[in-house]
Subunit: 414 residues, 2 copies
């Protein structure tokens, strides 16, 4: 098999941990597999480098910042290659411009355009373990770029796609993807297999174990992703194309996100184009709006509520205060906001074929006397905004109510 193994900053956080990584790579190679390893910077290193740049300027979206920050991964690949050799293996390091991982020129948040993977294939064919720098690439002018936080996951899956690898193993400090955060709900269970679509929803809704773009890439190129612990050999969670058996699991996971705020614009004129005029300036300001709900009020006016990242809430209100008077003319409009919210979600591909999930979710929340402020749904998820103080209570009730503390086969229907 051809196996890509990706190790995060904690897994390569010291020379001793690099020796562990090297031992795993060499063991995998000795089982007869071809191995490509993708590594992050040693934990803390990227922040240290960014701090140096901040003493000279604030803008992180800069060609020179990427030159500096990318050295974190460069040091890691060299050291891991040395560690593999010390462990008796053959190894060769590859930087983004050597692999060659071509990206666009959006410094600090570049997207991969193509991978010219022949140099890696040559190394693998020569029996070497290819040690590849995560997080970095090179644009068409030869400038170094970086992919943004968590970009090493994306590098791992992209390299796996380019090499047509049998699996991309993502090693992390947890042993897989859970039905919900085990720190909040002790009965949370490790998920054995999950579809890309579900994983995407979970990652978007607050689960931090995998970077969203890496899941998108995995789905696009059909790369099986195995999320597992760097501290054990136990099987973790496989993220794979949807399988028939998955539909029997109505709800796969429960997530909570606490980093949003809610904004309500009351008494808007109930005419077409109002929403567009409201959200255009927010988009221009680079503020991404998540859930949007519009309610018709009395007297030909309407209320519009939406959520934004909490860090952007103040600026969003300022932008709207400057724009809303234009929209509604004289008087009556009011903007209110609430920072103390949480978004709880249930996710599962089984929802497509099982009615009643929403009803059961609302009942479970009502059973705990939790008021639902906003609702949004997709084909495979339902999200409810509630008061933040009830977040843990809600997650526990949903996790228990949908039977997620039981093995998938033992869960009862809705």
């Amino acid at each position: 098999m051809l196996i890509v193994q990706k190790f995060g900053g904690t897994s390569v956080g010291s020379i001793d941990r690099m020796r562990n990584v090297a031992a795993r790579c060499v063991a995998t190679a000795r089982e007869g597999h071809q191995v490509a390893v993708v590594v992050s910077a040693m934990s803390g290193e990227t922040n240290r480098l960014l701090e140096l740049t901040r003493q000279l300027q604030d803008d992180p979206n800069d060609r020179e910042v990427d030159v500096i920050v990318s050295t974190g991964e460069q040091v890691s690949v060299g050291l891991v290659a040395l560690a593999i050799r010390a462990a008796g293996g053959k190894a060769r390091s590859f930087l983004g411009h050597q692999c060659k991982i071509v990206t666009d020129s959006a410094f600090s948040r570049a997207r991969i355009v193509s991978i010219e993977s022949q140099p890696i294939k040559d190394a693998l064919a020569a029996g070497e373990i290819a040690v590849i720098a995560g997080f970095q690439g090179v644009d068409d002018k030869g400038s170094i770029t970086t992919l943004g936080r968590g970009g090493s996951d994306t590098t791992g899956v992209a390299i796996a796609a380019a090499l047509k690898a049998d699996v991309c193993e993502i090693y992390t400090d947890v042993d897989g993807v859970y039905t919900t955060d085990p720190n909040v709900v002790p009965t949370a269970r490790k998920i054995e297999r999950i579809s890309y679509e579900e994983m995407l929803e979970l990652a978007s809704l607050g689960a931090k174990v995998l970077q969203i773009r890496s899941v998108e890439l995995g789905m696009k190129y059909g790369v099986p992703i195995h999320v597992r612990s760097s501290f054990s050999n136990a099987q973790g969670t496989w993220v794979v194309p949807e399988e028939t058996a998955m539909e029997n699991v109505v709800v796969s996971g429960v997530t909570v996100a606490k980093d949003e705020a809610k904004i309500t614009c009351k008494d808007l004129p109930d005419t077409s184009g109002v929403a567009g005029k409201l959200f255009a300036p927010l988009a221009d300001g680079g503020i991404s709006v998540d859930m949007i709900v519009q309610n018709q009020a009395s007297h030909g006016t309407t209320d519009l509520t939406f959520t934004v990242p909490r860090g952007d809430r103040k600026r969003a209100v300022e932008i709207l205060c400057a724009r809303v008077p234009e929209l509604v003319g004289t008087g009556g409009e009011r903007i209110t906001f609430d920072d103390e919210i949480a978004k709880v979600s249930v996710v599962g591909v089984g929802m497509r074929s099982h009615a009643g999930v929403a009803k059961k979710m609302f009942q479970l929340l009502a059973g705990e006397n939790i008021n639902i402020q906003l609702i949004s749904t997709s084909e495979i998820k339902i999200s409810c905004v509630i008061a933040r103080k009830y977040a843990e209570l809600a997650v526990g009730a949903l996790h228990e109510g949908f039977g997620l503390s039981l093995p998938p086969g033992e869960r009862t229907g809705l």
Copy 2:
């Protein structure tokens, strides 16, 4: 003018010092010059990175070690480019593989083969200050290489040669090249102009202000080198092609080297080929031999004395002990050594046209009752090995005796 400015590790040792470097670069550019800057790693960084590699292996001549160590300069160029922009200038960083500085594949001690300088020329033509990573290059397979300690001087002069720059300014923590070490002889004088040949001898003989290969490159391509202080605007020392006036100065400088040891092989057979058989195994062992003196002894035997770097002395004696019995057959040979030596030298292109320099040197040392153990001469220098405890005494006597504490015009003849 087109000016190359090279700053060492101390000059870029902190963000504040980088601001000073940036201010100087921007000021030079504002005077209407085109500016290319070559920078070293922040002081201490290269050693920190090497220490990381030593935890995994001992051999520094390794592809992966160069991948790791070269990040020191990579961080520096990014930060200096940001500092130049913060100071109001335009800047763009260049790594070895972007410049493009092509070297051979001798990792950790690579030699520059060629510089494809068009990217730098393009940046300069666009009004940007080019900030170039010293010490690093790329081989023909795209692997990162480093030039060895002091390699940033070499990068500076090589870039100046490639760009046909008007001057390569080497900024350092001293304000020029002195007639001898001012810490040893307080009357030492800054030299205003010195020839490449003299500078080469001074650098070879213990003066640490410039890396030898950078002087060789400067001589080969006729690049004027200006050694000056990064803490002032004072003129430093110009290293230039030999000028007629220089011949009037009989002795330009006095140096001392204390890092060698002396080995004597006694009672060798006085036949041809003996020296070759002796030095071949040392060369094979990578030990560079400096001064060699052979004296015919009585009874058809000969004594041979030479110096090696003190760190190699033990190994050199071991190699010889294993080989000398073969050369001399049974008995009689003896190897002795002395680690407590120093080599004092006087250097000057004026020696070519002035006889009596050696005589005067020997008289000055004899006047201090210093015994001369070995003598070696070239066209423009005379070196004497003496007991190390007399090193400072000898340097002071020679500096005073040859009138170096006086301005060149006021020095009397021999």
